[in-house]
Amino acid sequence: MTQGPGAIEQTGGGRPLPPLARAARARAPGHGPAGGGKIAYLFLAPYLTLFTVFVVFPAVYGLYVSFHSWDLLLPNKPWVGLGNYRALLDPSTPSGGDFWQSMKATAIFTAAAVPLLVVLPLGVALILNQKFRGRNFFRAVYFAPYVLGVAVIGVLWTLLLDPNIGVVNFYLEKVGAPENIAWTTSLPWAWVALVGVTVWWTLGYNAVIYLAGLQDIPRELYEAAKVDAASRWGRFRHVTLPGLRPVLVFIVTITILASANMFGQAWLITGGAPGNETRTAIMFIAQEGLQSFRLGSAAAMSFVLAVFLMLVSLVTFFFFRERGVSRGRRRA
């Protein structure tokens, strides 16, 4: 689960110990009810080995690599300090110019996909939240595309969007659309295609999370609103939306991060075309590092992208949280 959209959580664990655990700790310092001390390290050892070798070490090593001119094809990997980062700031260097173009592509995709993936799944979840026959069946159908990987989605939509023999153009032309829209090689159609495919692929995922959030809203609140003769919109506005706030923050955050990590769709459907217009940041970094083997430069780009993503998620988090707080105050 390291790369799926589910890999990000909205808040840390850090839950305070329940009273029983605190009592147990007070009784026997250094031991929990289930044992502790050395035994705990035995339980932790297998995971911590994996975690150290494949999470902690790479994170540090990646930073180290980013300070070198690390070309796999050359014998020497000289220290360049911040050289790789400085080259990124200089648009005239090849890595600088192309990198920012790929960042722009990622930004365009994110700006287009996130609003759709925040609003549409909420609509679907609201429909699914009513009591009716076959609700679980529909929920499973809408979720189904997400179970298929991006590779299947990519090759499938390459067929469906084929300008000459694709079913999308066939049916669009029947209803009067222009002939042979080049979904994969022209703008803005390439963006429409990439965003559309991604919405189709992940809508169900967000809808399922919304649905769980909707089912957590106490029914009494709706009953109370009905007694107050609140309209359907009023109930949505004053009961549903405030009740969904934490889930909404979570959805916005994971959707931004998942969109900013977009790679497979562009790789398989447009290949970055037209030109390098739809080559996303992840795609460019992967090519720079693992096809051109300039790993130092690619590692530096990874960290720049990562800093951007963490800033964006911090901003989202505080934006929503602040509004939540002020709303609560106004009411009190």
Binding site: F132, L290, S313
Partner: protein
């Protein structure tokens, strides 16, 4: 709300309720078509001849059903051994899911229930990695796999992914929610911590472990970015990079590419249909808890 069937003429309120239900069903069915039609077309195309698969007028039922595409990818294909990819994917996904469940359950139990020095810091560090954008691991992981001589082997796509913190996070939340009395009784009986874990905790945790296994399996089964760059030779690929190779080798032989996509889809879809509730509730849980 659904079964509003009165014989008497419905009062205005009930009539609007009926309209709501009808509108909802219309929307539900339209969405079902949108979500299922592409998948159906994938399956149908895999059973077409190349001539039919590349016709402008699409057919939703093959005029001359044919298994040439499957013959092509399963038998005569040294460059694109789809069957081999299938087994590679199975080994990697099952291996990684088992590794995740085994290591994460042990670690999560220690973090949830035991007291030891450095527990808070360790929990904080592990969980905070969930917020780190995964791209920063790609280059160093590649170099590490190179040093370990794991490039182009299934180890490269099985082991590193098992180090992710989501499993530990989810199981820790689950263990924290279990009542402590069961363990405390076992402690009084003199059971060892491992025995308690094995005999008391794990049996209670079957649904949580199954959910984690499924999510880990599906994540690995569908993983694309890492396998694409750390596996090279045709016989060592998993299905996702394999599909990329199929697309590159058979550009307009869509029936062949779709046959490969069907091979990659069927196990995931079967798992999903059998364990739909676990998968969906597991995903929903990642959103609610935390």
């Amino acid at each position: 709300m659904a079964a509003v069937a009165h014989d008497r003429p419905a009062p205005p309120k009930a009539r609007s309720a009926v309209l709501t239900v009808l509108a909802s069903y219309a929307a539900l069915i339209a969405l079902t078509v949108v979500f299922l039609a592409p998948l159906v077309y994938m399956g149908v195309t895999a059973f077409k001849t190349n001539q039919e698969a590349t016709r402008i007028e699409p057919t939703w039922i093959p005029k001359e059903p044919s298994t040439v595409a499957f013959d092509a990818i399963l038998n005569r294909s040294e460059q694109t051994p789809v069957f081999r990819w299938f087994f590679n994917s199975m080994i990697a996904a099952i291996g990684q899911a088992l590794l995740v469940v085994a290591t994460a359950s042990l670690a999560a139990y220690a973090l949830a229930r035991m007291e030891f020095r450095g527990k808070k810091v360790m929990t904080g560090v592990i969980i905070s990695t969930l917020f780190v954008p995964p791209i920063i691991f790609l280059m160093p992981t590649y170099l590490l796999l190179d040093k370990l001589r794991w490039l182009d082997s299934l180890l490269a796509v099985t082991i590193p992914g098992a180090a992710g913190a989501l499993g530990v996070f989810l199981l820790r939340q689950f263990f924290l929610s279990l009542p402590k009395e069961l363990e405390e009784a076992a402690v009084l009986d003199g059971a060892s911590p491992f025995k308690i874990f094995w005999r008391v905790i794990l049996p209670l945790s079957k649904p949580a472990l199954a959910t984690l296994f499924l999510l880990a399996f599906l994540t690995n089964w569908n993983d694309f970015l890492l396998p694409l760059f750390v596996l090279f030779s045709p016989e060592s690929l998993t299905l996702p990079p394999g599909l990329g190779l199929l697309q590159g080798s058979y550009t307009t032989s869509y029936e062949i590419i779709m046959a490969g996509a069907v091979v990659a889809t069927v196990p995931a879809l079967i798992l999903f249909i059998i364990a739909q509730r676990f998968v969906i509730e597991g995903v929903a849980a990642t959103g609610i808890k935390g």
